[in-house]
């Protein structure tokens, strides 16, 4: 009867059945993938390096080399150790050949959960690839508004708000209008237009809704159009092909990273006011030297991945 049942199984069901064998996957250490099985597996094939094919999802031609495979004692968990560090923000495809008793080859994808992925984007844009200290963008506004902590907070908040609005608008327009109509060469004109539009919108809405808030933030709104970060983010999104939530996270990360940079800088510059600085270096020159030291410190984040 078992034979008859097996014969009626279609290949799709076979695939599903074999997929049920793997109950969970996760990244272990920086060079490890841990595969959990639904029931104990006692197949020696699993310990053979040759039976695995592992590659990053975008390029199937580049196979990753497995260094060692360990199976837990009860046979429910296999740990694959690779000879190079894995990039945990991308997806890996694993094929296991020759699991004969489980019905042919087994194929599954290992990746971070979507929320984890979004969190990675947020933290990366905020700290590891901070727009001011590691990409050197938005310096004019950064130098201009980091004299006082209060100004820095106001500018940072306004900026993060406008950034989130304009980035989501440009994502929608880019994906639903510009790509279908092959207008991608108009990127620059359209994105800067959207930025100007959202600045105007925030200006009008804030003026009506909360005049007190407008009185304190209004002056920064004008400055936003001349900040390169605000146009750099939509351009990067267009290059990377991000989804909507990913874009929003990148925008918020970039905005809060800018706010963080402004606040750090303002804290130092308030102290600098009472310090003895050579006359020629007062103001901007010494601010640049301080920013250089911040950039050196942020260099320590480079290459990190979450």
């Amino acid at each position: 009867m078992t034979i008859a049942l097996l014969a009626t199984l279609t290949s799709a069901e076979l695939f599903a059945a074999s997929n049920n064998l793997v109950s969970g996957t996760a990244f272990g250490d920086v060079d490890e993938i841990v595969v959990t099985f639904a029931r104990p597996v006692t197949n020696n094939q699993l310990l053979e390096r040759e039976s695995y094919q592992v590659f990053e999802e975008p390029d199937p031609d580049i196979r990753l080399e497995i260094e060692s495979i360990t199976l837990s004692d009860d046979g429910s968990r296999a740990t694959l150790r690779f000879s190079e560090t894995l990039n945990q923000s991308s997806a890996y495809v694993i094929n296991i050949k020759g699991l004969a008793d489980e019905g042919g080859a087994l194929s599954f994808t290992v990746k971070q959960s979507y929320l984890g992925h979004l969190f990675t984007i947020l933290i990366t844009a905020m700290l590891i690839k901070n727009f001011v200290f590691t990409k050197y963008l938005g310096l004019c506004v950064f130098m201009g508004t980091s004299k006082k902590k209060k100004t820095a907070k106001g500018m940072g908040l306004t900026f993060a708000l406008v950034m989130a609005i304009s980035a989501s608008m440009s994502w929608v327009i880019y994906n639903f209008l510009m790509i279908p109509f092959k207008l991608t060469f108009l990127q620059i004109v359209v994105f800067i237009g959207l930025v100007a539009l959202s600045v105007q919108a925030v200006d009008t809405i804030l003026r009506k809704l909360n005049p007190a808030l407008f009185a304190s933030f209004g002056i920064y709104l004008v400055l936003i159009t001349t900040n390169c970060v605000i146009i750099a983010v939509p351009l990067m999104l267009a290059n990377e092909g991000f989804g909507f939530w990913e874009s929003l996270m990148l925008a918020i990360g970039a905005g809060s990273g800018f706010m963080l940079a402004l606040y750090l800088m303002a804290s130092v510059r308030e102290r600098l006011d009472v310090a003895l600085v050579p006359e020629s270096f007062k103001g901007l020159p010494v601010a640049f030297l301080v920013a250089g030291q911040f950039a050196l410190a942020f260099l320590g984040f480079s290459g990190m991945s979450i």
């Binding site: 200290f133 590691t134 990409k135 050197y136 963008l137 938005g138 310096l139 004019c140 130098m143 060469f185 108009l186 990127q187 620059i188 004109v189 800067i192 237009g193 100007a196 159009t225 001349t226 900040n227 390169c228 605000i230 146009i231 750099a232 351009l235 990067m236 050579p278 006359e279 020629s280 270096f281 007062k282 901007l284 020159p285 010494v286 601010a287 640049f288 030297l289 920013a291 250089g292 950039a295 050196l296 942020f298 260099l299």
Partner: protein, 230 residues
Amino acid sequence: MAAVKSNYQLVLNGILAENPIFRLALSMCPAVAITTTVINGIMLGIAVFFVQVASSVTISLVKNLIHPRIRIPTYTLVIATWVTVIDMVLAAFFPAAYAQVGIFVKLIVAFAIITMRLEMFASKQPLTPSFWDGFGMGAGFLVGMIVIGMIREFLGMGTLLGFDILGFQPLLFFVLPCAGFFVVGLLMGFFNHIENVHKRKKLGLIAHVNQKKNMPAGCDHCAPGDAHIS
């Protein structure tokens, strides 16, 4: 300052007295980020030069047609159009260098310096002075980029324009991206120092004259911008 300047003075003003990078401290992102070699600096400098001249001329031509309330968005769109043009030209003819300069060519659209010149100069002046003002500002930016690029490439890699000069690498630190902050800061301090010395000499003269007239002399009494604009 209100006096009409000759074309020669306009160009010189952009390069020296109101140099966009060192004196006005505007559009510094590329000055810090991509000046690791001279050739990068020249590349972006030329792009900015072109956009500045072209948009100054455009705005100066159509200044009477623009409604004052929407003038800033108009400037932005004009700049964006010219940036698109130069972006495509560079991508088509110099793909290797373009890959190095990367996103910064596109970012010219958000440069404060171009918008500022359009607002302060081109929207009020006739065509010829606007052209020369744009020419001077663009040239000033180009010169600034070349100076920073030369210092960083020479100190960092011992080369100039890719030609090996020293034969060794003195201070690799200078090709690190963050060294841009230090180089720009030190150069700004240097130019401020020159200005201070210059101003002190001038003030010495003024004080001398004022002593005769029994008038108080000092920085607070001069109109801002008097001392350092030749």
